[in-house]
C-alpha cells in the first residue's frame, strides 16, 4: 500500500517543488504567475461571471491534448513510441477540412462527417506508421517523426496552394469554413459540448479498454512481451497496427476539433504542438487514463493562461512551456532515482533472501 501511496505522492511532491523552485528562480513571487495563469485560463476567482470565453478556449485546448493523450496511452501500452501523433492530428484536421469545405449537408450530418473524416484521416496516417514498423522494419520513432513533417508540408501546401484564401496566398490559413460545418458551441464561447463529451468518452473508453476488455489485455501483453504474446496465439502485428489505428483516430478527432472547433479554418500549424504536449502528459500520467483529465487540463491552463504573463508581469508567456518541461523531466528523474535506490537496496539484500526469483 505504501508503495502505491508513494507512486502518487512522489510525483506530486516533485511537481509542486519544481514549480515553486522554477518560479523563484526566474525571480518572481511564485504566487503571481500562478494566479495570472489561473486568471488567464479560467478566471480569478475561477469561473466567475464573464469568463465563459476564456474557459471555453481552455476547454477547447484541453480537448485535443486529452484526446491525443488517450490515444497515446494505447500505443505506449502496446510498447510503441508514437511520435507520429503530430502528423496524425494534422492529417485528421486536413481530412476534416476537406469535408467541411466540400460537402454540404444539414448541420448535424455535416458535423458528424467532419468528425468521422478526421478520425479516418488520423487513423490512416497512424496505420502508415504501423505498417512501416511491422512490414518495413522502420522504427516507429523515426517513421512517425518523418510522417509528422510530411503532414506539415501537406497542410502548408494546401493552405498556400489549392485551398488558398480567395485572392491571396498566405500561410495564415484557408478561408473560414461555413458555419454549418463548424462544431456547435455554447453561446459566446468556443466550447463545444459535443467535443467535450467525445473526449471524456474516449478517455473512459481507453480506461475501459485496459481495465475490462480482452482486446486491451492482449494489447498490453503484446507491449510487454511480444514472443510470449505470440506463443499465446495473439496476432502481434495486427495488434500493433490496431494500437496505431486507435491512437491515430483519436488524434484525428483532435485535429477535427482544432480545425472546426478552434481555428475554424485550416492553418499550417493546426496541431498547435498538442501532440508533443500530449506525450509529456502521458509520461507524467504514467499511462493511466483518468490522470490524463486533470493533467491535460492543467497543461491547457498553462498554455492558455500563460499569455497573461506577457501583459501583466514582465515575464514571457513561454514560461508555461518551461513549467511543463520541468515538471515532466523532474518527475521522470525523481522516479528514476527512487527506482535506482530501490534496486540498489534490493541488490544489497538479495543474498540470503529466500523468495527471490530463481
Amino acid at each position: 500500500m505504501s508503495s502505491r501511496l508513494q507512486s502518487v505522492l512522489l510525483p506530486v511532491t516533485i511537481v509542486v517543488a519544481s514549480t515553486v523552485a522554477l518560479l523563484f528562480a526566474v525571480g518572481s513571487n511564485p504566487w503571481d504567475p500562478i494566479r495570472l495563469i489561473i486568471e488567464g485560463s479560467i478566471g480569478w476567482p475561477p469561473f466567475e461571471a464573464g469568463t465563459a470565453a476564456k474557459v471555453g478556449d481552455t476547454v477547447m485546448v484541453w480537448v485535443p491534448i486529452a484526446l491525443a493523450s488517450a490515444g497515446l496511452i494505447v500505443t505506449f501500452r502496446a510498447g510503441m513510441w508514437n511520435i507520429g501523433i503530430e502528423g496524425q492530428i494534422i492529417m485528421g484536421a486536413i481530412a476534416a477540412s476537406w469535408v467541411a469545405r466540400t460537402i454540404s449537408a444539414p448541420r448535424p450530418l455535416r458535423v458528424f462527417l467532419t468528425i468521422a473524416a478526421g478520425a479516418v484521416g488520423g487513423l490512416l496516417w497512424g496505420l502508415l506508421v504501423g505498417i512501416l514498423r511491422t512490414v518495413g522494419g522502420v522504427n516507429e520513432i523515426f517513421g512517425g517523426l518523418g510522417l509528422d513533417f510530411v503532414a506539415v508540408s501537406v497542410a502548408t501546401y494546401l493552405v498556400i496552394g489549392p485551398w488558398r484564401r480567395s485572392g491571396v496566398a498566405s500561410t495564415s490559413g484557408t478561408d473560414v469554413f461555413a458555419d454549418a460545418a463548424l462544431l456547435p458551441s455554447l453561446e459566446g464561447s468556443r466550447l463545444s459540448p459535443l467535443m467535450v463529451a467525445i473526449t471524456l468518452a474516449a478517455i473512459f473508453g481507453v480506461w475501459l479498454l485496459f481495465r475490462g476488455t480482452l482486446y486491451g489485455l492482449r494489447l498490453k501483453a503484446v507491449g510487454a512481451n511480444r514472443p510470449s504474446a505470440f506463443l499465446l496465439g495473439i496476432p502481434t502485428n495486427r495488434f500493433l497496427l490496431g494500437a496505431f489505428m486507435i491512437c491515430g483516430a483519436l488524434a484525428g478527432i483532435a485535429g477535427t476539433s482544432q480545425a472546426t472547433g478552434f481555428h475554424f479554418k485550416l492553418i499550417p500549424a493546426i496541431s498547435g504542438n498538442y501532440g508533443f504536449l500530449a506525450i509529456l502528459v502521458v509520461l507524467l500520467a504514467r499511462f493511466r487514463a483518468f490522470w490524463v483529465i486533470p493533467i491535460s487540463f492543467f497543461f491547457a491552463m498553462i498554455a492558455v493562461g500563460a499569455s497573461q504573463l506577457d501583459l501583466r508581469l514582465d515575464l514571457s508567456s513561454t514560461l508555461g512551456g518551461v513549467l511543463q518541461g520541468t515538471l515532466v523531466l523532474s518527475a521522470m528523474f525523481g522516479l528514476g532515482w527512487a527506482a535506482y535506490r530501490a534496486r540498489k537496496r534490493a541488490e544489497g539484500t538479495a543474498v540470503g533472501s529466500e523468495e527471490a526469483t530463481v
Binding site: 475490462g212 480482452l214 489485455l217 498490453k220 512481451n225 499465446l232 529466500e354 527471490a356 526469483t357 530463481v358
Partner: protein
Amino acid sequence: MGLELREIHKHYGPVRANDGVSLTVEQGTLHGLLGENGAGKSTLMKVLSGFHSADSGEIMLDGKPIKLASPDDAIAAGIGMLHQDPLVFLPFSTIDNFVLGSPGGQRLDRKRAAVEFDELCERYGFNLDASTPARLLTVGERQQLEIVRLLWLGAKVLILDEPTTGISADQRSKLFTTLKALAKEGMSVIFVSHKLEEVADLCERVTVMTRGKVVGEVEMPVPPERLVRMMFGQVVEARARSAVDLGQPQLRLSGVRAASGLLSEDTVSIDIGAGEVIGLAGMEGSGQDTFLRMCCGMRAPKEGTVEVAGHNLTGKHYRDFLAAKMKYLPAGRLEEGLIKGLTITEHFVLAGGDKSFIIDWTAARDRAVRQVDHFTIKGTEASTAESLSGGNQQRLLLAMLPPQLSVLLMEHPTRGLDIESADWVWEQLLQRREEGTSIVFASADLDELLRYSDRILVFFSGRVIGELKTAQTTVDEVGLLIGGRRREASP
C-alpha cells in the same frame, strides 16, 4: 603458466553458481572442464576472465595471487577467453576486429597489423583474409580470428567456452590440432564443454562439475561411461511404468528437413501416438530446438509434412497448430511464456478459452484463485509473473494449458526446479498422457529422460542419430549416443 583457482564462490541471489570450486591447470596442458548446462562452468570461466568478480576465493598465476576486476586485468595477466559466440564485431573488417582492444598508438596501422595477422594465421594454418568483413566469416573462422587475436595479445592461458557449437567437422579438427600445438608450445588451454566425446579426444586432464561444485577430476584417457557417471551421478535404471495404450498418431512428421542450419542435412520421420511420451536427448543446441519449432509451426520445414491430430498443417501458421490443440512451452519461462508485469489472473484470462470482449473480472479472479489453489502456486491471483519463483512460474505455465491437448511440446520441463516442483510437474504431465496427450520434451537430465519417456530421440550436431525404446535401452547407451557414438550393433 600454471593456474590455480582456490575455493571460488559466486552466488547470484540464492543461486550458488560456484560453490567453493578449486581447480588447478598445469602449464602446457589441455584441461577439460566438463559439465551439463547450468553446472557452473561458464560462471567459473567468467570469473577467470574478469567478467564477473568472485564473491570469495583466490586465483593464482604461477604461484602469485592475481586480482581480476575486469576483462582488462585478465588480458594483462595473459588470460584470454574465447566465448561460445565469438565476441567479434560483425560489420567490421577482420583486421579491425584483430586490432580493436590491442594496446598501441592512436594511429591505426592496419597494414602492419595485417602482416603480423597473416604470419599468425599461416603459423596455425588458418586461411583468413584481413580485409573480409567479419559478418561474412563462418563461426569457425570467427573463432580462428579470436584465437590469433588472443595469441597476439600475449595470452598464456586460453579459455574456450563450448567452442565446437556451430562449427563444421573440418573446422573442429583444425581447431583441435591448433590447440594441441599451442599446448606443446607451453600454453595452458582450458576447454569448457558438455560434449564427452570432444573432451575425451582432446584433453589430458578433465574436471567434472555439477551444480556449482567439482565432483571429480581424472587423468585421461578413461572410458566415457565413467565421465557420464560423474556428470549425471548414479542414474536409476528405468523403472516399470504403467503401460498406456497408445492411440492414433497425434503428431506425424514425414521426411521433415529444415531449410538451413541444424536438421537440414537429414530428414526426420516419426509418428507419435496419443499418450506417448517422447524425450529429446542430446547436448544443448544439437537440433532439439529446431525440431520442436518445426513441430509447432514456428518454423516451416523445407520439405516433408507435419500432421497434427490428423490434419496436414505443413507450412501453416503457428495459430493453426494452436487450433489443432498443440501447445509449445519453450525453456525461457519469463521470455517466451509468461509476461512480466501481468498478474496471474490476467495470464489465465489471456490463456483462457473465454473469448468474450468484456472481461468478467470477478469470475476471472475466482477462477484464478481456484487455479492457484489447485495447482498449488505459491502466490496470489494478483501476483505478477516475475514475482514467482521458477517452480511456481512452471506451475503457472502448466495451469494455463487448455484441457485436452493433442500434443504438448516442452523444453526442460524441470530445469532449475526443486525436487518437489519437479515431481509435481511430471505428475501433471503424466496425467495429461493418461488423457491421450502426446508429450514431446527436450531435457538435459538423463534420469528424467529415462524415467518418463516411452521413446528417446537422440540429437547430435544437428541430426537425429538414434531412436531408442526406453524399455530396451540403458543409460550407457544413451550417454554414448549423446556423445555422438553410434551403437556398434543393433540388438
